[in-house]
């Protein structure tokens, strides 16, 4: 059946693909709820520590390993040194989210430029650029991160760098694939037949049609990056004292979970919720921007 044979209706406003996507996204409740939740979490992590009475590294010898409760000022309890868990979770959230966003932005930028260039140039350039990606792909990414951290140290920005170093490859591959298929599109050929210059074709035809993909996979990359940082920290190879992140907190919690399970459960719940929300957000964006029935 040819659904396309519908003539345009006069009454409604023009439906640009972006508007269609926005509508589809809004209809996906899981995705919108996740999005709002993420904004909430981010907000709380950023603003929270300023509003709470305790500092994340201040030890309270009177309240060591306190269970969570609403009666005292330590709503989520404390750890063995008396440090407030809630504040530490929020501070950890700051770090984890910041690493996530920074590393994602840089790997998306690098990956997109690499992949788009390779895809559009084609031929020799494409082959060699992607061979580099293939080679780097062969090494398990965590090992590269561990390598780099071993060599370079565990400074915050170095951790970001290490994570970026392998996260860009997925994006590069995806963007290159999409660029290749866009190059073959009839409307790109039509633009060439008109005489539009290469640069303008890339700017007006290729880039806008790539954006959707980039947006989707950015929201997929962020949780992967956060996860990597958490694993690194959990293994003791990531964020160092005095800073803390969710991975560090989980590791500390895991060590004392027999006596103080809340030290594990709260940061784990925060991390998992964030990752879960990003998943739904990513799924929702993917359905909105790339529906199969179009």
């Amino acid at each position: 059946m040819n659904i396309r044979s519908t003539p345009a209706t006069q009454a409604s406003a023009p439906r640009s693909p972006w508007r269609d996507a926005r509508d589809r996204f809004a209809r996906n409740r899981a995705a919108t709820v996740s999005g709002l939740l993420l904004i909430l979490i981010t907000f709380v992590c950023v603003v929270g520590p300023w509003l709470l009475p305790h500092a994340f590294d201040s030890t309270d010898w009177n309240a060591m390993a306190l269970a969570p409760g609403l009666t005292n000022s330590h709503w989520w309890g404390t750890d063995e040194s008396g440090r407030d868990l809630l504040v530490r979770c929020l501070m950890g959230g700051r770090i984890s989210l910041m690493v996530g966003i920074l590393a994602t932005l840089s790997s998306v930028a690098l990956g997109t430029i690499w992949g788009a260039t390779a895809g559009f140039l084609g031929g020799f350039a494409d082959q060699w650029m992607m061979r580099v990606v293939d080679v780097l792909y062969a090494v398990p990414y965590l090992l590269i991160a561990i390598l780099l951290v071993t060599v370079l140290g565990r400074d915050f920005y170095l951790v970001v760098l290490a994570i970026t170093a392998f996260s860009w490859m997925d994006m590069a591959r995806l963007v290159r694939g999409q660029a290749l298929s866009l190059k073959r599109m009839d409307y790109v050929e039509a633009a060439r037949a008109i005489g539009v210059s290469q640069a303008r074709i890339i700017a007006t035809h290729i880039v806008p049609n790539l954006l959707g993909l980039v947006v989707i996979y950015t929201t997929v990359t962020v949780p992967a990056v956060i996860l990597t940082e958490s694993v690194l920290s959990f293994l003791g190879l990531g964020i160092q004292e005095p800073m803390t992140s969710w991975g560090v907190l989980i590791q500390e919690g895991a060590q004392t979970m027999e006596v103080a399970p809340w030290l594990l459960l709260f940061p784990a719940a925060l991390l998992s919720t964030t990752l879960y929300c990003f998943n739904f957000l990513g799924d929702g964006l993917r359905d909105a921007l790339d529906p199969k029935d179009r």
Binding site: V149, T150, F234, L235, Q251, P261, L264, L271
Partner: protein
């Protein structure tokens, strides 16, 4: 088919060479490298290193020397332990990791394919929904979150299994790690299998099969299964890689003396040669796995090999 295999094999060699070179250079030439004066190296170790790596030669010759050693299966001398070579350390750790990892992958493939298929055949039923939910859970909760929780439940509360340790392939030490790894992988495999089987069942050639009067069982097993497995196979590669990550965490949490723990300790101790040797080894394993995946793909899809 043969030509395809050889082509893929040929492609591996340059990859390996480049990776090794890259890692080697990174470790030995980067600032903060092994021979910074701040890091004291014991005399015995230094003697070992001198013998193995010919530190008097320029870097690129050292590299070639290293490669030569590699071809003989010699992964080098440890940077920290004068008495043991990297080979020794690896020989002890590798069987443990392989057993646990291998069992987990095999189990998760088996369970994942079956569960995913059933979910696809009964779309939107309770089985399907629970598979999808579990799938999401397994891929979202990081291994290092699930692991301590598992220990909490089975070890500390129920007291059924030990919380870690190892005793010469005794089953009770292997159960939790294998369960953890299996659960994580089953989530992904089940989800992928379900999605791909649903899509294959909508293909035109399945319609032809129905028009021929074949039973559902025959259609699924003979016509739909092969193409549906293709995405699962293609996800095995990344899955293997993430299994290595999971192995690192698992071995740390459960105190298993495997390759993963060697990596973590090696990194913490800055045992450069050990890390180098381990990276080489793991890369080799991953690359081989990828090759096997490619070959499996060609076995399933005749359009590739002809």
């Amino acid at each position: 088919m043969l030509a395809y295999t050889l082509r893929r094999l040929l492609a591996i060699v340059p990859t390996l060479l480049v990776v090794i070179a890259f890692v080697y250079l990174l470790l030995f030439s980067a600032p903060g490298g092994p021979f910074d004066s701040e890091k004291a190296v014991s005399a015995a170790v230094l003697a070992n290193l001198q013998a193995k790596y010919r530190l008097d030669l320029p870097v690129w010759q050292q590299y070639l020397h290293y490669l030569g050693n590699l071809l003989h299966g010699d992964l080098g001398a440890s940077f920290r332990y004068a008495d043991w070579s990297v080979n020794d350390l690896v020989a002890d750790a590798l069987p443990i990791s392989l057993t646990i990892g291998g069992t987990a992958i095999a189990l998760s493939l088996f369970i994942g394919v079956i569960v995913g298929s059933l979910a696809a055949l009964r779309q939107n039923s309770w089985m399907d929904v629970s598979v999808m939910l579990l799938g999401n859970l397994g891929s979202v909760f990081p291994s290092f979150v699930i692991a301590p929780v598992l220990v909490l439940i089975f070890s500390l509360w129920l007291r059924w299994l030990p919380s870690g340790g190892w005793n010469d392939f005794e089953l009770r030490f292997m159960l939790l790690p294998i369960a953890l790894l299996t659960f994580i992988n089953v989530a992904t495999i089940g989800r992928v299998m379900r999605g791909s089987l649903v899509e294959v069942l909508h293909s035109p050639f399945i319609r032809t099969a129905r028009a021929k009067g074949l039973s559902l069982r025959l259609i699924v097993l003979r016509h739909a299964l092969k193409p549906a497995l293709l995405p699962v196979v293609s996800v095995l590669g990344p899955l293997a890689i993430s299994s290595i990550t999971a192995a690192l965490v698992t071995e740390t949490v459960f105190s298993l003396p495997g390759i993963g723990r060697l990596v973590v300790n090696g990194a913490a101790n800055r045992d450069y040669t050990l890390i180098l040797g381990l990276v080489v080894l793991i890369t080799l394993v991953v690359v081989t796995l990828n090759l096997i995946v490619d070959l499996l793909y060609a076995v399933l899809d005749p359009r590739i090999r002809y």
